[in-house]
C-alpha cells in the first residue's frame, strides 16, 4: 500500500480523503493557496505545502507544481478529489510520466468521457438510450436550427462542462439568443472553451445516477443508484440513495447499462454514470463523471462501503473482493448540501466569516464538512458549508432524521439554505418522492415562506433594543470571527510563505 498520498484539492473533499488515508495508515500531504492557510485540510494533513495565490488557476490547477510537491514530499500517489484537476486527462498523463500514481481512471478514460460528444458516441455504441439533440458542438446558427428541430424546451450545455456551469434551459425561441450568449460566456470563463451543444429538455425529469467501482483487473461493479432530482441553478442540493421512485427492475437495468459503458472505456476507480429519467422510468444517458462525486456518501451509507478507501486500494492494484450479487442495499440515506447562500435571493452565495457553527450529531448522522467557528468563506471557492447525511431503516425515517438534524444546525455569520432544506423535508410531494429537477422552481413558498413563526425574532429584537442582551460583540472584536480576522491581517502583513 502507498505510504504517502498528496491530496490535490481543498475543502470537505480534501478532508474526506485525508480521513480515509489516516484510517489506512497512509501519511497525507496537503497543498494550499494563500486563502487556505487556515483551512481544515491543512490542519488535518500530516504535511502541508503552499502552492500559490487564491485563484485556482494560480494554485490548485498548477499541474507541474503539484507534482513537484508530491515528489519533494515523497508522496507516491495523488488523489485529485472532484473539480480542479480531477477530470483533467493531461494531468493524469503527466502523473504517469512523472512516476506518481493518479488515483482515478486512466487518462484515456477521462479523455473519452470528458468530451460530451465522444461520450454520447460511446453510449450509443453500448446501446444506451440518449436524449435527442445536436450531434456535437454547434455554431450559433446550427444551435438555433437544432433547437427548432427537436422543439422547445431545449437545453444548451457546455461541451467541456459539468456542475451546471455553462448550462441554460430555454423555454422558447425568443429566449434562445441571450441564453446561448450566457452559456458560452460561462463555459469560456469556467472551462476556457466556449463550445456548446443543444438537446431536448425532458419534461419533469429526474436525475438518477449509478455509482461505478472498477478495479485494474477488469472487474466493474455498480453500487446502485442515487437520485439527485432536487436541484437549484442545475446544481444538486439534495441527494438520496436508493431512489424513492424506481422499481428494482429499472435499478437492475440501469446498473447493467452503466457497467457496460464503464467497461467500454476499460474503466477503473470510482465513477458515476448520470441519467435523466422521465416519469415513466424511461432513462437517457447524460454523462459519465470520471471521479469521486460530492454525493458519494449516500451510497456509502446504504452499502457500508467506503468508496474513497476503495479508490485508493484500486489505484494500488488491489482486486475488488466482492461480487455484484453480494452487494445489498441496507436502509435509506439522504444528503443535504448546506450552503452559505440566500434562498430568498435566488440562492446567491453569501460569503463571510462563520462566527459560530455547530453541526448536529448522533446516531445515523454524518456531517462531511471542513468548517469551524472563525473560518472565513471567501468568494474564491464554492460556498458549501457541509454535506449533511442521515441514514435510517426507511426513507420516511431518514427524512425525519434529516429535518431534526437540520433544526440542530447553527450557523452564524453568513446566510444559509438551512431553513429552506427543513421546509423541503416537510414538503408533502418530497415525502412522497414526487420530485423532479423543477421541484424548487415549482415551490417558491419553500424559499420565502409567509407562515413562519417570527415571534421569537421580535422578542429577541426587543431584548436587544432594551440592552437586556448585547448583539454586537462581533463589532467590538471579541468574537472568534474577529480574532480570526486579526490573525489573517497579521498573516497578510507578514507576507505569504511560499515554498
Amino acid at each position: 500500500m502507498f505510504k504517502k498520498i498528496l491530496i490535490a484539492n481543498r475543502g470537505e473533499i480534501a478532508v474526506r480523503i485525508i480521513r480515509a488515508c489516516k484510517e489506512l495508515e497512509i501519511k497525507t500531504v496537503a497543498v494550499y493557496s494563500d486563502a487556505d492557510r487556515n483551512a481544515m485540510h491543512v490542519m488535518l494533513a500530516d504535511e502541508a505545502y503552499h502552492i500559490g495565490p487564491p485563484k485556482p488557476a494560480e494554485s490548485y490547477l498548477l499541474k507541474e507544481k503539484i507534482i513537484e510537491v508530491a515528489k519533494k514530499s515523497g508522496a507516491e500517489a495523488i488523489h485529485p478529489g472532484f473539480g480542479f484537476l480531477s477530470e483533467n486527462d493531461s494531468f493524469a498523463e503527466l502523473c504517469e510520466k512523472e512516476g506518481v500514481v493518479f488515483i482515478g481512471p486512466s487518462a484515456e478514460a477521462i479523455r473519452l468521457m470528458g468530451d460530451k460528444i465522444t461520450a454520447r458516441k460511446i453510449a450509443m455504441k453500448a446501446k444506451v438510450p440518449l436524449v435527442p439533440g445536436s450531434d456535437g458542438a454547434v455554431t450559433d446558427v446550427e444551435a438555433s436550427r437544432v433547437a427548432e428541430e427537436i422543439g422547445y424546451p431545449v437545453m444548451i450545455k457546455a461541451s467541456a462542462g459539468g456542475g451546471g456551469k455553462g448550462m441554460r434551459l430555454v423555454n422558447s425561441e425568443d429566449e434562445f439568443e441571450a441564453a446561448l450568449r450566457m452559456a458560452r460566456s460561462e463555459a469560456s470563463s469556467s472551462f476556457g472553451d466556449d463550445s456548446v451543444f443543444v438537446e431536448r429538455f425532458v419534461q419533469k425529469p429526474r436525475h438518477i445516477e449509478i455509482q461505478i467501482l472498477g478495479d485494474k483487473h477488469g472487474n466493474v461493479l455498480h453500487l446502485f443508484e442515487r437520485e439527485c432530482s432536487i436541484q437549484r441553478r442545475h446544481q444538486k442540493v439534495i441527494e438520496e440513495a436508493p431512489s424513492g421512485f424506481i422499481s428494482s427492475k429499472t435499478r437492475k437495468k440501469m446498473g447493467d447499462v452503466a457497467v457496460n459503458i464503464a467497461k467500454a472505456v476499460n474503466y477503473y476507480g470510482a465513477g458515476t454514470v448520470e441519467f435523466i429519467m422521465d416519469q415513466e422510468e424511461n432513462f437517457f444517458f447524460l454523462e459519465m463523471n470520471t471521479r469521486i462525486q460530492v454525493e458519494h456518501p449516500v451510497t456509502e451509507m446504504i452499502t457500508g462501503l467506503d468508496i474513497v478507501k476503495w479508490m485508493i486500494r484500486i489505484a494500488d492494484g488491489e482486486k475488488l473482493p466482492f461480487k455484484q450479487s453480494s452487494l445489498k442495499i441496507k436502509g435509506h440515506a439522504v444528503e443535504c448540501r448546506v450552503y452559505a447562500e440566500d434562498p430568498t435571493m435566488n440562492f446567491l452565495p453569501s460569503p463571510g466569516t462563520l462566527q459560530y457553527i455547530k453541526a448536529p450529531a448522533g446516531p445515523g448522522i454524518r456531517d462531511d464538512s471542513s468548517m469551524y467557528s472563525g473560518y472565513e468563506i471567501t468568494s474564491y471557492y464554492d460556498p458549501m458549508l457541509s454535506k449533511l447525511i442521515t441514514w435510517a431503516d426507511t426513507r420516511e425515517e431518514a427524512i425525519k432524521k434529516m429535518k431534526s438534524a437540520l433544526l440542530e444546525y447553527i450557523v452564524l455569520g453568513v446566510r444559509t439554505n438551512i431553513g429552506f432544506l427543513i421546509r423541503v423535508m416537510d414538503d408533502e410531494e418530497f415525502k412522497k418522492a414526487e420530485i423532479d429537477t423543477g421541484f424548487i422552481e415549482r415551490h417558491p413558498e419553500l424559499l420565502n415562506p409567509q407562515d413562519i413563526d417570527n415571534e421569537p425574532a421580535l422578542i429577541a429584537a426587543a431584548m436587544i433594543m432594551n440592552n437586556t442582551i448585547s448583539g454586537d460583540e462581533s463589532v467590538n472584536g471579541k468574537a472568534t470571527g474577529s480574532n480570526w480576522k486579526l490573525a489573517a491581517r497579521k498573516m497578510a502583513l507578514r507576507g505569504s510563505n511560499e515554498i
Binding site: K165, P349, P351, P456, I459, A460, A462, M463, N466, D472
Partner: protein
C-alpha cells in the same frame, strides 16, 4: 419600554419590562415570560414561557438579525418618528449588489426604459453569473459602475427613476 419593528414589511409593537429575575414581553396583546442565558458571543439559549429556543442575534445599527430553526430574520427598529413616515431609505428604485461580485455586463444605458423584472446588470460571483433585475418599472437614472468593476455587498450599481 415599547419598541416598534419592521419585519418583512409588517410593523409590530413589542413591549418589554425587566422584572426582578425575568423579562416580561407583551406582543400581540399576549404576555410572555422570557428567560435567557448566553451560550457564545452572539448565541443565546432563550426560554419563552417554557418554550426553549437557541437564538443567534446580531445588531448592525438599526438592523437586527435573528437566527433560529434554520432561518434568518431581518428586523428594522423604527423610532416613532420613522414609524409615522414609514419606508425610509431603500425606496426600491435602485439595483444593489447583493454580495461581493464582478460586473460582467451592463445591459442598459442611461435613460433606457425598463420593465419590472427586466435584467439590467449581469454580475459574477463565486464563478456563477447572475442577472440583476429592475425592482420596478421605470427609467435608468444613473449607472454607477462599469463592466469589469469589482464591487462590495450593498454597492448601488444602478438607480432608477419612476415612470
Amino acid at each position: 419600554m415599547t419598541y416598534t419593528f419592521k419585519l418583512k414589511n409588517q410593523v409590530y409593537k413589542v413591549n418589554i419590562e425587566e422584572d426582578e429575575d425575568i423579562n416580561i414581553v407583551e406582543i400581540d396583546g399576549e404576555q410572555k415570560e422570557i428567560r435567557f442565558t448566553k451560550v457564545d458571543s452572539n448565541l443565546y439559549s432563550v426560554i419563552i414561557d417554557n418554550e426553549s429556543l437557541t437564538i443567534g442575534i446580531f445588531k448592525k445599527g438599526k438592523k437586527i438579525q435573528v437566527f433560529y430553526k434554520g432561518d434568518l430574520f431581518e428586523i428594522e427598529a423604527i423610532s416613532d418618528r420613522d414609524g409615522s413616515k414609514a419606508g425610509g431609505p431603500g425606496t426600491g428604485l435602485e439595483i444593489m449588489s447583493p454580495m461581493p461580485s464582478r460586473i460582467v455586463k451592463i445591459l442598459k444605458e442611461q435613460g433606457d426604459k425598463v420593465e419590472e423584472e427586466e435584467p439590467v446588470v449581469v454580475v459574477e460571483a463565486m464563478k456563477m453569473e447572475s442577472e440583476l433585475k429592475a425592482p420596478s418599472t421605470g427609467k435608468i437614472k444613473e449607472i454607477k459602475v462599469s463592466e469589469g468593476d469589482t464591487v462590495e455587498e450593498g454597492t448601488i450599481l444602478v438607480t432608477l427613476s419612476p415612470e
